[in-house]
């Protein structure tokens, strides 16, 4: 039976129309019509502009009839559109009064903020036609996909091993061995590699549509610098077309969904890095893409004089706690979960999401509370980068309602300093290894709130962390002034690449020390893509603009640094096999179940005496596996001896209950393949009373 509200009532320019449905916003296929709906609080008139694909001039502009506006929403159904072959935009009329916050300009054609497909940057690096006055072009998607039985995986958050990656950097490099480098399809080809490594979650750096040509410019050596990382959204609902090998056919939606479905089939979750703190429209001098022309005063945080607040460091700040912008953010996140089956989100500069419309931090930000309690996002991972460029630093204090996890920048800083031999950081390191109870023990947050990492896209790769004392960002064209100066790095005696065997051995050992601490610490470990093969960015700690060999993973390193890959693979497997390493809530550091030993204990070079010795650079810890039983079967005891001192030291071992013996799982001082064994095949040690731990080395023992 036909619906009675799907018949045209009006006609314009040869197309049949009727008043649309205000909800949902965006363009939605309804029967043989497309429902266009857009919100603007202050616009006086709105016109739908229709193009044939790629055309510079529209084939039709349809004004919204007066009766097509309800409240502040313009909505209209247009019948019999060949929706796969059209692009659409809007002209908005209203006051141009910047001091009052309004910047309407009906000469501009504006992208739909709810566009689920955006054309205009379909092939990466293809110079756009700058003369075209409509650059980022909304398109219509018919949202169906054959998911079969797929759903978000809902892996317990404490079981995750996250792998942070960039779509292009992952497979554009030499020897990547994929047919479709730099694309979603390329990642799909690498799923067997991810499985072999053992990670069970990938975190994709921004994949919302952005413009790689934003602020594009020549580098000092002549190559082109791009907005390669994409932390500058054009739209919040559309995947980046140029990240799909099928982007030129406008099939990026299908390609990304197919990737997620394939990853899920292999037990790998997908977290999206989302950037809701600002848009690509920049400040007062930036272009009209969408939001500025549709409803500037609603979408942006403005000063009393109508200028843009810049808490993002990128020219503008999205007005996240305006109720309508808040709705858009929630709609976007729900869309990615329902239509793409995304498992979680990492929110870039998330502290901004907790600022009020005047920029002041709120105690209970409504947006964050909404997300924490949203029914559709109820099992979705929510991870905050809990700081912003305006100086708000909320690591440990991000409003969470027991739902939000955080990138734990304090873990990164403390572990880096400890491993390089800083004698003032031991107490801090001990907090981080045990799940940062000082930050997360309250408000029902627990260990699962701490995303631990040593390296991330911002900053040095792990190989560069042990190869450079200072950043080398000259290729970015800013005189090496950009990027963080506080890296806590150590070059192991030589700045940059080295052919010295001893230097390189030490560097590999330091990398293994880092990953050993990361994988045996309580919290959710995150690995930067490429660290497992010793990837270098040649000392560049801010490679946001480098779409070339500086950023692309060089897969030749998989062979060259095979020992690093082997170590990563085995220690990730070790973590996933031992529940004692993956607690959800903080441990008591006591024997509260009367099992003979505490759940967790610190030790020094003498067992049970965790006194600070040797410049505060020797420390060990033991996990009592009997506290980590699953299905009635206790886990093993795990003992980790860390000697970051520059001399070898003996560590007296705590004695195990009768029948159990210490076995060696890993010793970073040993050359491969003696540095680590297959989990479950640990080697019984002769001396059950003491182990000698070489300088700047870590030993991991298993009591079983």
């Amino acid at each position: 039976m036909q619906r009675v509200d799907l018949f045209p009532t009006h006609e314009y320019g040869g197309y049949k129309l009727r008043a649309g449905r205000p909800y949902p916003f965006g363009a939605t296929v309804v029967g043989n019509a497309v429902n266009f709906s857009i919100y603007s609080r202050y616009a006086t008139d709105c016109t739908l502009v229709l193009f044939h694909n790629h055309d510079k001039t529209p084939f039709l502009e349809i004004p919204f009839f007066k009766e097509f506006r309800l409240g502040n929403v313009f909505s209209m159904m247009v019948f019999d559109l060949d929706y796969e072959n059209i692009e659409y935009g809007y002209r908005m009329d209203g006051p141009f009064a910047p001091r009052q916050g309004h910047r309407f300009d009906k000469t501009k054609i504006l992208m739909d903020p709810y566009a689920k497909l955006i054309a205009g940057r379909d092939v990466w690096g293809k110079e756009p036609d700058w003369i075209n006055n409509y650059q980022y072009r909304s398109r219509v998607v018919f949202d169906d996909f054959d998911w079969e039985n797929d759903l978000p995986l809902e892996t317990p958050v404490n079981d995750l091993v996250i792998y942070e990656m960039h779509v292009r950097n992952f497979t554009c490099g030499d020897k990547a061995g994929v047919k479709h480098p730099g694309t979603f399809a390329g990642i799909a080809e690498k799923i067997p590699y991810l499985k072999e490594l053992g990670v069970n979650c990938i975190e994709l750096m921004p994949i919302h549509e952005f413009d790689e040509f934003e602020n594009s410019r020549p580098a000092p050596d002549g190559h082109t610098l791009y907005n390669a990382w994409g932390y500058s959204n054009v739209g919040f609902f559309a995947p980046k077309a140029a990240y799909a090998s099928t982007g030129k056919y406008s099939m990026q939606v299908d390609e990304l969904k197919n990737l997620i479905k394939k990853l899920h089939a292999e037990g790998i979750e997908v977290i999206l890095d989302v950037v809701f703190n600002h848009t690509a429209e920049g400040n007062e001098n930036g272009p009209y893409i969408s939001y500025r022309g549709i409803d500037n005063k609603t979408y942006y945080m403005l000063t009393q004089d109508g200028y843009y607040f810049n808490f993002s460091g990128c020219g503008n700040t999205l007005n996240c706690n305006n109720p309508n912008v808040r709705d858009m953010i929630v709609d976007s996140l729900r869309y990615w979960v329902t239509d793409y089956h995304v498992d979680g989100f990492r929110f870039d500069l998330a502290a901004i999401l907790g600022r009020d419309q005047n920029g002041y931090p709120m105690a209970n930000p409504p947006l964050l509370e909404s997300l924490a309690h949203d029914p559709i996002l109820g099992k979705t991972k929510l991870i905050a980068e809990a700081w912003d460029a305006g100086g708000l630093y909320q690591v440990g204090s991000f409003p969470s309602w027991g739902r939000w996890a955080e990138w734990n920048g304090k873990f990164r800083d403390a572990v880096r300093r400890f491993v390089k031999g800083d004698e003032h950081v031991l107490d801090d390191v001990k907090e981080r290894i045990t799940g940062s109870a000082d930050l997360y023990a309250s408000a029902n947050r627990g260990i699962k709130a701490s995303v631990n990492f040593v390296t991330a896209h911002d900053g040095f790769t792990m190989m560069d962390l042990v190869s450079y004392d200072g950043k080398h960002n000259e290729a970015n064209g800013e005189g090496n002034r950009d990027g963080d100066d506080n890296n806590n790095s150590w070059n192991c005696g030589w700045e940059g690449e080295s052919t010295d065997i001893g230097t390189n051995f030490l560097r590999h050992k330091q990398i293994k020390n880092f990953i050993s601490i990361l994988m045996t610490s309580q919290g959710i470990p995150m690995v930067l893509s490429g660290d497992e093969i010793g990837n270098t960015q040649f000392g560049n700690n801010n490679a946001y603009c480098q779409d070339n060999e500086i950023s692309w993973l060089d897969w030749k390193n998989l062979e060259k640094n095979a020992d690093i890959f082997n170590y990563f693979q085995k220690i990730i497997k070790f973590r996933r096999q031992h529940k004692a390493l993956r607690y959800e809530y903080h441990l008591g550091h006591s024997d509260w179940r009367n099992l003979g030993m505490p759940d967790f204990s610190w030790h020094g070079v003498k067992a049970w005496q965790p006194w600070n010795t040797y410049n505060n650079l020797t420390q060990a810890f033991m996990l009592n596996g009997r506290y980590a039983d699953s299905d009635g079967k206790p886990d093993d005891f795990i003992y980790v001896a860390m000697n970051m001192h520059w001399e070898m030291h003996g560590f007296e071992l705590p004695q195990l209950p009768d029948g159990l013996k210490w076995h060696v799982f890993a010793n970073t001082a040993m050359a491969a393949p003696q540095d680590i064994v297959e989990p479950g095949y640990e080697i019984l040690i002769d001396n059950q009373w003491e182990v000698l731990v070489e300088a700047r080395s870590i030993m991991i023992l298993v009591g079983k």
Partner: protein
Amino acid sequence: MENTFEVKQDGTVLNIVLNGQLATANAPALMEELNKYKNQGVTKVSFDATNLTYIASSGIRVVIFAKQKLGGNPEIEFINCNQEITGVFEMTGIKEYINFIKK
């Protein structure tokens, strides 16, 4: 080239000749045509793609419909499919169940 299709039944096999593009302009009509053969014991759907130049999302949906909704899990065959279209099938995840034939 005109965006047309032609469907002929040969026993339990459906032979479909595609011309030009398979997109919104013709895909819904082809799906409606296929719908007539739902649960009719079709064992194979053979698409002659010799003159097919482009397939859009809506065209992909037709292939999925043929595989999953006709009933009986019929074999799907594409004859003389060009490389670009084959690539699209691969990257959108449906290549696994298509037999590609060169004639």
